[in-house]
Symmetry: D2
Subunit: 386 residues, 4 copies
């Protein structure tokens, strides 16, 4: 696309959703390294998210996680966000941290546990009503650790039943995003392990159910952009959970491990109309050792850079080379865009949006990092446990 | 299942289809090591397959590969098989060895190549009419090696079009089996890379289209029995291509690399009703360094042993343990069956079928191996190239 | 080996070391599900370990983890163990849970952190002196999450320096076991990621440094028995950390995921003289959802079963088949042993040892599980955090 | 490195060795697609290699493969190369295509086969004497397909014996490069499967034995730059076989699958002094579907681009950020270099070398592709088989 104004317009209208939990502490099973200045309340998370939006210009929504972001008055929380230039995004359910869920939630062999889990999912839709959130994101840690532990097919029946009940409860403008994951925390079977399983369930549920692609949730070697192209072709790509990984679900900053893969994914998004079809572009990352706010700013920038390169692909030239079977020529068209340094273009985009061209430097200069360390003293830092 | 007669009955009625090409030479890209005595014609392959059936009692059908098994008169070939106690099984198409298919067959950017490939697929249905084969097995090597080389979604459109045309051509009693494969020979994208893609196409095509699970065609770590359970639950499991692997599509003897996995797969088959629902149990292996006929006999026995163990699982006890959330107990029920030495049981089954209890020894004693080496002199040995 | 008495003798003299931490709570980064009756002190862990030894007869030593098992008087702890028929085994260091270790321990860029970490390692040798433990097991979580984060080669220099200092401190009869791990908790580089790195360091250190093979710490598809054979050939196999996995470092019960692999590993141990050359056979597992003591009993039994099968391999017949290039024949010799049901043999071994033939049933009948739930009320359950 | 003249000087002195066999036909086990114009003789391969050197300026040597490049008079072949501005590079042995090698070459159980294989390796040293080639590259396909097939440790003994005999035969200025490979064509064990095994053998052999890192020969997820850093630290990195892969040993153009990985590898090379320490930078690729000469030109350019970026890393800034534990800052220094568009810099380098700034366009314009198609008619095209 040589039409630079159109590229810039697309980049200005991009929206990346940041997750409330990424502003809190996180870690591995071995250790959570707490960081000074980390938020203690959902409101403080929104304060930090507002910084990310202020310095990038393209992060206007924040995903919540229930119960980690449980508050008395969700309407008030939405208003708090709005006052800081933000909207509340997807509501993420959590049916994996209660002691009852040791052997599963909606797929648990015990119907009482299933009822409890379903109750939580329905509560999340209530919260959506209160916050105006458009999306319910469902990730199930459900699965088994040992062969024979439970019946694989029966668990699918139970899953289908719960999803059906939630789907019925959704309002006209509400959407269900079903996430899949290859493994962890279950180590033998996972009840929604791959895009095919998520797709099959969404297909039966109906148009308000779509698949969420977490870029870290695949088997080694999986071609993620292929899945993206397929789901877009089927009208079933609802959202991304962006992050990056070298090994398993490492939850590193998106674009940090394989920026070329991120570019290929964004190219399929552009090619398949995903920039304008309601696909939600969310981050889902863990900043275990690096400071969280600048890591999130950097991640948003990485998504922008990949998107910019994807928009710069000369699609006419590509189509010609593809049609002619010119393998090297077609590859070269793609690589030309990838090898372009788009940082100057994005600096221009930012200046046209009225923000600083270098978000990292601007954030550093803002003094916010020092301020939260100084002010957020005492209390309980946010994390996965609460 | 403590009902030994029922277990025996199930084992006696089992049918494993052997592939004509496994009797011929095969190898890697580095070298094909020819073996003495290898068949030179489809008829000689059937002669060998008849030996496998004679000594195992459960290998009554033989899959053909077109053009590797091209003959003038397919009806005569079917009769040749019948005279040896065999039937012709699935017809396997081949749209990957013509020079035209360098960049694809039914997904090729050039419509002329696509037409040619479709013509071959339809010809295979003609052959089914002539042989009475019930199944058309479709494996496409189609894909790309380099990012940008071709349009991922457009290739899906072309694939869907070809599959639709073939589906229309199928007779009442004919079935299409769509195989997926993670990679190879394409090294960037493969047009049918996973069960989800195969499933999505089969779903749109209709009830005569089902998925074929080749046990060697998955990403590292993929839980194959989970896929089996899912496809059975959806009524979309049509067939297995059995083999085993440590790394990629190694095509070793089934059960040789991970016999516990094979047992888990067969348990899901038993549990999901797949032993009696028309699932075709085929071998698809390469005996690159070991003698072919005994390797195939051994493979059939490996499938039998896994099936016997799966049938021996105490499903009542398992259901109780699963319902109670007894993780170790449920696992122990499964392992009890797996740890059972079923070779004596299978020896009995064979004697009741009127064949020798030790198929490997009986084949060795038969002199067939020496005879084919002595008699099959001259001519062109069968292999993948012809 | 048709010499059943010799097989039995080998099985009776086998010793599996259980880890103190496996008796405490563990989990994933998502959740630790606490279990009733879990020990609250190192002494209670030893009480549980004594049960495992009582019912299996082959688990006479217990590995400690410092600081999780920190006590005032290590000599007294050793005596406590002895009074229960146990000895204290390897001392496992922990340089990954202090806030200082966020970016590494002995490889940290800051020399002050390195000094602190080294101090802990040397303290562990002091503890060995007090407990009479023969082995210091070193696992380093050290690594980086992002490209560029630190200098790969410089970290090796720092690692070598620390290892050298610890090696110097070892007494005559003390040994250093260096463990490697593919990834986690570091997600880009790990400073000791593979056997080659561990081997290279041990080689330079000298004969008292050997490699510890954790069966869950390899890249997908890695042939572990090959590594075992190599290290035995080099005199550098010091120990196993047994567990099993389907995906990453899942830490499931050894033998639960791939019993055939465990058999192949034990065959190489037998073949390479590892049963009698001082190799330490340790468990290192997480019983996140199953009760801990019976899971450990089961794990010990799984090691026994694999060892029994390995001992039953007819090595003379195998050698003949291998020498003759009889691929199927050699494989069949191995599989014959694997397919044998060794549970009756092990029941005999146990009876000859004067214990119950079915350890799981005997433990269940003992009432220990109910007793610890009733008695261990209040206090702080042991886990990874303390 | 802000010192642009030094960067340019380093880029001008870079040398990438191209392999004679990449100019010939290659394919997968499914099909070799022949290409028009492919060389029929070693001399014609050198003619093509001379084109690559002419248009890139940095590909002055050509690796030979024996017997694929067998000629009567190797001195004459060296002279033929020299007349075209080339030198003969590494001699690659081939002990995998003779029928005798079905079960191995230097590790074969039969001493007669081992002697034959050793004879070939020694013949390759003779050829080095005749051609002046400095390096003997050893890749062994040796391994097994089935558990039990052969004795893992005994095969190491045989391997060590053969390597020792070859090492003894090497002249003062000759070097042995030992290549490892994860799997293929052996599918259970491979006798040199990883860097650790190659390293252990080279260490015992002596200073003239070094490891060759083929970038496609690793387990999924392996951190290759870590291995590079380690081997450089040990003085044991002898060479690269460059190519790229998404799955297994795909042998795609280097830099095509993961250009960021190639950059990280080249950064470790630069950092560890590998640009000037005698490391040989070789391509080892298969251009199965794309035209060979331009694919090789493109590959050389990809290596150049990764090297240029690696040279541009601001190592002083990186060292500061690393020392301070500034995770994001250190990563940003690396990414700044990676995100730089180095194509203009390389165009300048080429112009200063007196060649065209765009090698691909210049080659296209040269008419060579059309000329070889027109002239190379008849005869037997070169490939892996001959």
């Amino acid at each position: 696309m040589s039409d630079v104004p159109a590229v810039k317009a697309a980049l200005k209208s991009q929206a990346v959703e940041t997750p409330s939990w990424a502003y809190g502490n996180s870690g591995t099973r071995f250790k959570v390294f707490a960081q000074p200045g980390v938020p203690r309340t959902p409101q403080e998370k929104l304060d930090d998210a507002a910084q990310v939006h202020a310095f990038t210009g393209v992060a206007p929504t924040v995903a919540l996680h229930i119960p980690w972001d449980r508050v008395e008055d969700y309407g008030a929380l939405a208003k708090y966000a709005e006052e800081r230039g933000l909207k509340l995004g997807a509501i993420n359910s959590n049916v994996f941290q209660d002691d009852d869920y040791k052997l599963g939630s909606v797929t648990h062999p015990d119907p009482a546990v299933r009822r409890k889990a379903l109750g939580h999912l329905l509560e999340c839709v209530d919260i959506m009503d209160a916050t105006g959130s458009p999306d319910l994101k469902l990730w199930f840690s459900d699965g088994t650790n040992y062969p024979g532990q439970d019946d694989i097919a029966a668990r699918q029946d139970r899953l289908a039943e719960a999803l059906g009940a939630v789907y019925e409860r959704l309002g006209e403008e509400q959407r269900m995003l079903l996430e899949y994951k290859f493994f962890e925390p279950a180590f033998y079977t996972t009840d929604v392990p791959d895009w095919g399983t998520a797709y099959a369930h969404c297909l039966k549920l109906g148009p308000k159910a779509q698949v969420c692609v977490d870029t870290g949730h695949h088997a080694p070697g999986t071609n993620i952009e292929f899945i993206v192209a397929l789901l877009l072709r089927e009208g079933k790509l609802g959202a991304f959970d962006f992050n990056s990984r070298f090994y398993a679900d490492d939850d590193l900053m998106v674009g940090a491990a394989d920026p070329f893969q991120l570019f290929r994914i964004m190219y399929e998004v552009v090619r398949g109309g995903g920039l304008t079809s309601g696909v939600a572009f969310m981050l889902d990352q863990c900043h275990n050792i690096e400071p969280k706010i600048p890591a999130i700013i950097r991640s948003v920038m990485n998504v922008q850079e990949a998107t910019a390169k994807a928009l710069l692909v000369d699609r006419d030239a590509l189509a010609v080379a593809q049609r002619e079977g010119d393998v090297l020529g077609a590859n070269a068209v793609l690589m030309d865009a990838y090898n372009t340094d788009v940082r100057p273009l994005l600096a221009e985009v930012r200046e046209e949006l009225g923000i600083a061209p270098d978000p990292m430097a601007a954030y550093r200069a803002s003094g916010w990092a020092e301020r939260i360390v100084a002010e957020r003293v005492g209390g309980q830092q946010a994390g996965w446990g609460a």
